[in-house]
């Protein structure tokens, strides 16, 4: 009797523990990317996935499916009822949003993702430069793969950001820091979209992306050019660290950003290291201020100045928290950039 009871309880536990069998594999529609648009106040969800057939070289073919509804769940049900296939989201690598969908449904979308375990949090988020996000996925190949490669590679070249879903959700959920995401068009990645809370704040063109990444501490490496002696010289960023200090002086945030960056010269040296370092610093200081002005205008604290204030002076932050975006729009920047050239090749006095 005891043995029967043990077997019975074990089987019951197993049945209860499992609970993740969503259907037969043959009905699965493996989704690789999702584009969320808003159409007449309703969601329009476009999924890119496998057409479940192989081409002549035995590679899977992409297929787009679109569903509409009041919620994401309704959209998925719409797709399922029309195609008879079960969208399987665990292999998604990209979520594309239009500007309108960011403004109207980003909060709902984040709430849906937080309550849904079928979407991995390392999915990349991207904003469509113009028009519908679904347009990004309209391709004969897997567009998601192409887009993903463009901004993961771009992040390494300092030309764009690589934002994973958990980064974005962290910024959206945490007080004192705002999110951003890369902007993608048909041509590839094009700058960064700045968010103010759950809304679209503004746009940062590609020219300012290197400085932005260095100011946010997200620069990993890549190339940068600076004008030296009337010529544009190319440098490689080898190391970059950022220091952030924030204080509230007379009700105005004073944001102090210190950047230490190591570069390597790509061309043959024609000047001393100091000349190159000065040129780099000049560019970064100029662009850094421009970036900061753009952040202020967008009410997007992408630097995490508010968060830093809350850590350094919690009592001050308590008073500022409710109107942080307003205060940040008046913030003053103190930018200290220290560029160092490695392997300089020439020393002072050689000119």
């Amino acid at each position: 009797m005891k043995r029967i009871m043990i077997i019975f309880v074990s089987v019951l536990c197993l049945a209860a523990l499992t609970g993740c069998h969503e259907g037969d594999l043959q009905q699965f529609y493996i989704v690789t990317a999702a584009a969320v648009d808003v159409e007449d106040g309703r969601y329009k969800l476009t999924l890119e996935g496998s057409a479940n057939r192989l081409d002549e070289s035995k590679n899977p073919q992409p297929a787009l499916q679109t569903g509409r509804g009041e919620t994401i769940t309704q959209c998925l049900q719409d797709i399922q009822s029309r195609s008879g296939e079960l969208p399987y989201m665990r292999h998604s690598i990209l979520i594309a949003l239009s500007q309108a969908s960011i403004n109207e449904v980003l909060d709902e979308l984040v709430a849906y993702i937080q309550g849904e375990d079928s979407i991995r949090l390392n999915v990349r988020a991207v904003m469509a430069k113009e028009g519908e996000a679904a347009m990004l996925l309209n391709d004969s190949e897997f567009a998601s793969s192409r887009i993903l490669k463009s901004f993961t590679g771009g992040a390494k070249r300092l030309t764009t950001a690589d934002v994973q879903l958990y980064d974005l959700m962290y910024c959206l959920d945490s007080p004192g820091i705002d999110g951003w995401m890369p902007v993608s068009g048909q041509e590839g990645t094009e700058g960064i979209a700045l968010l103010s809370g759950y809304s679209y704040g503004g746009y940062l063109e590609p020219r300012l992306v290197p400085s932005f990444l260095m100011m946010t501490g997200k620069a990993e490496g890549g190339s940068l050019t600076a004008e030296v002696g009337g010529k544009y010289v190319s440098f490689s960023l080898t190391d970059c660290s950022r220091r952030l200090d924030v204080s509230l002086v007379n009700g105005v945030p004073r944001v102090s950003v210190g950047i230490k960056a190591d570069f390597r010269l790509r061309d043959m040296p024609e000047h001393t290291a100091e000349v190159y370092e000065a040129a780099l610093e000049k560019r970064l200081v100029s662009e850094g201020h421009e970036v900061f002005e753009r952040l202020k205008a967008s009410a997007c604290d992408a630097l995490g100045a508010g968060q830093q204030l809350s850590r350094l002076s919690p009592s001050v932050w308590e008073q500022a928290e409710g109107r942080w975006h307003e205060l940040f729009s008046q913030a003053e920047l103190e930018l200290d950039i220290d560029c160092r050239l490695e392997s300089r090749g020439k020393t002072e006095g050689m000119e």
Binding site: C20, L25, Q26, I30, A51, N52, L54, P60, R90
Partner: protein, 481 residues
């Protein structure tokens, strides 16, 4: 039945006993120089050496010139006339009938009750060859054969010690099969030897035709899933088992010698391990264990992951799998079951067919059937690869193939019902059962990690021989210094 002493009565009784056996021959003869000597011999045609019969029995008696005491004629013949080494007197007709069937000659003589049983055997048996299932690339090529005495002689050649103990027991009401319980004094646990001997002696059965009969009859859990008694057909392995402190049971007519206690780890040991360098042996043993693990889990895990955790596959791979799966009519589970059954059918067919047909069968089965099934979209190629890999790895441990098939199906059922959780539960159950059971005083998991019993010099890995110099290191004599 006892013979009553009258020559006529005794030979009449023997004639009646052997009346139904046309192969039993008899011959009456008298002494050429002493006609008072009247004798009759009984022997089985084809089991006796005519040369020995003639030179060792007939010639010395017929040409005997002296006087023989009539009342002790058989004893005197045994002592001074017969020129054969194996002679004993018996008055039991049952004993005589057994001896007759085993190739001995019965000699009745007028004057003394009973008969002499004279060893004169010369029956043909299979020659000594390498056992098919325990072949080695290097090492001895000898294998046990059917007659127990030949097998014992092979063992004795390897263990030239007076401490080799052989207890003969006759088992089987009608077959009277000779069985030998063999141990090594001073190495094997005395209690174990007594226990095994008692178990064999207590067997009540009509016939014993192979050692497997004994194995099943003395198995402490005959309905158990795991084997608790090992077997080998190699004398070198049998000698090694004796040196490790195990008991052997030899059965006349069977080339398989039983070894006990038997533990799980022995499935992964191969005679080859001791004829190659220890590095190679250790690597091979790990490979065998990995093959076993792969064989039982590969198909269940694949089906479980497909059904419950498809997110764990790389994206392109799962897309390919889904696309191929959609082209087939069956679910992943059905495909797996069908292919596993087909593989086992082919394996069984391969075992039962002659070697010349076997090659054709494997080509038809593996190549033509497999390829056609994929091309006809009956099964998906990925499932075919997984099942084939699982099947091939299952064949590496030949000794465990039956358990592998059953465990694989059990885990497949668990995996299909509850995903990886189910497989984890199934493996836990199997391991739990293995940890629970034992074999003649030894834990079934002896030698495995976390098991304190036994030594670990020759367990998961084989260490150099220099670390395994002492006999009885594995078990049994645990009080050994």
């Amino acid at each position: 039945m006892k013979l009553n002493g009258s020559y006529e009565h005794d030979i009449k009784l023997m004639e009646n006993l052997t009346a139904g056996d046309p192969t039993v021959k008899l011959r009456d003869f008298e002494g050429r120089y002493n006609p008072a000597i009247r004798c009759r011999i009984f022997f089985s045609d084809g089991m006796v050496s005519s040369q020995l019969l003639s030179d060792g029995i007939l010639e010395p008696i017929i040409n005997f010139r002296g006087e023989l005491p009539r009342d002790e004629i058989l004893d005197y013949m045994a002592l001074a006339v017969l020129e054969l080494p194996e002679v004993r007197r018996s008055v039991d007709s049952g004993d005589m009938a057994e001896a007759l069937n085993y190739g001995d000659v019965l000699l009745f003589a007028d004057g003394q009750p009973g008969a002499l049983i004279i060893g004169c055997k010369n029956f043909t048996y299979r020659g000594i060859s390498e056992p098919e299932e325990e072949k080695v690339a290097r090492g001895p090529r000898e294998g046990f054969t059917e007659p127990i005495m030949i097998n014992i002689s092979m063992l004795k050649r390897r263990l030239r010690t007076h401490k080799l103990r052989i207890d003969m027991v006759t088992v089987g009401e009608r077959t009277s099969t000779a069985c030998g319980v063999i141990s090594l004094d001073g190495v094997t646990d005395e209690k174990l030897v007594r226990q095994v001997k008692e178990l064999v002696e207590k067997i009540e059965i009509d016939g014993i035709l192979s050692s497997n009969y004994i194995s099943e009859l003395i198995d402490p859990a005959p309905f158990g899933f795991f084997r608790r008694i090992g077997s080998t057909a190699r004398p070198d392995v049998a000698a090694a088992k004796l040196l490790e402190g195990r008991v052997l049971i030899m059965v006349d007519g069977s080339p398989q010698v039983l070894t006990l206690p038997f533990v799980f780890l022995e499935h992964f040991q191969s005679p080859e391990d001791y004829y190659v360098t220890w590095h190679h042996a250790a690597f091979s043993r790990v490979l065998r264990m990995a093959a076993f693990a792969l064989s039982i889990t590969l198909v269940p895990v694949y089906v479980a992951v497909l059904n419950y955790h498809p997110g764990t596959f790389p994206t392109m791979m799962i897309m390919n799998i889904v696309a191929l799966q959609q082209a087939t009519p069956f679910s992943a589970l059905t495909e797996a079951v069908l292919l596993l059954i087909a593989f086992d059918l082919l394996r069984e067919a391969g075992l039962r067919t002659p070697a010349s047909v076997g090659q054709t069968l494997s080509i038809v089965g593996a190549l033509i059937l497999g390829q056609s099934a994929v091309e006809a979209n009956i099964v998906s190629p990925s499932m075919l690869i997984v099942v084939a890999l699982s099947g091939v790895t299952g064949l590496i441990i030949n000794d465990l193939r039956n358990q592998v098939v059953l465990i694989r199906f059990m885990l497949l059922a668990f995996g299909a019902a509850a995903g990886l959780w189910g497989i984890a539960a199934g493996i836990t159950m199997v391991l739990g059962r293995m940890a629970e059971i034992g074999s003649f005083g030894a834990d079934y998991l002896t030698g495995m990690p976390l098991n304190a019993q036994g030594s670990h010099e020759d367990s998961l890995f084989r260490t150099p021989i220099s670390r395994m110099k002492k006999s009885g290191r594995f078990m049994a004599r645990r009080d050994r210094p």
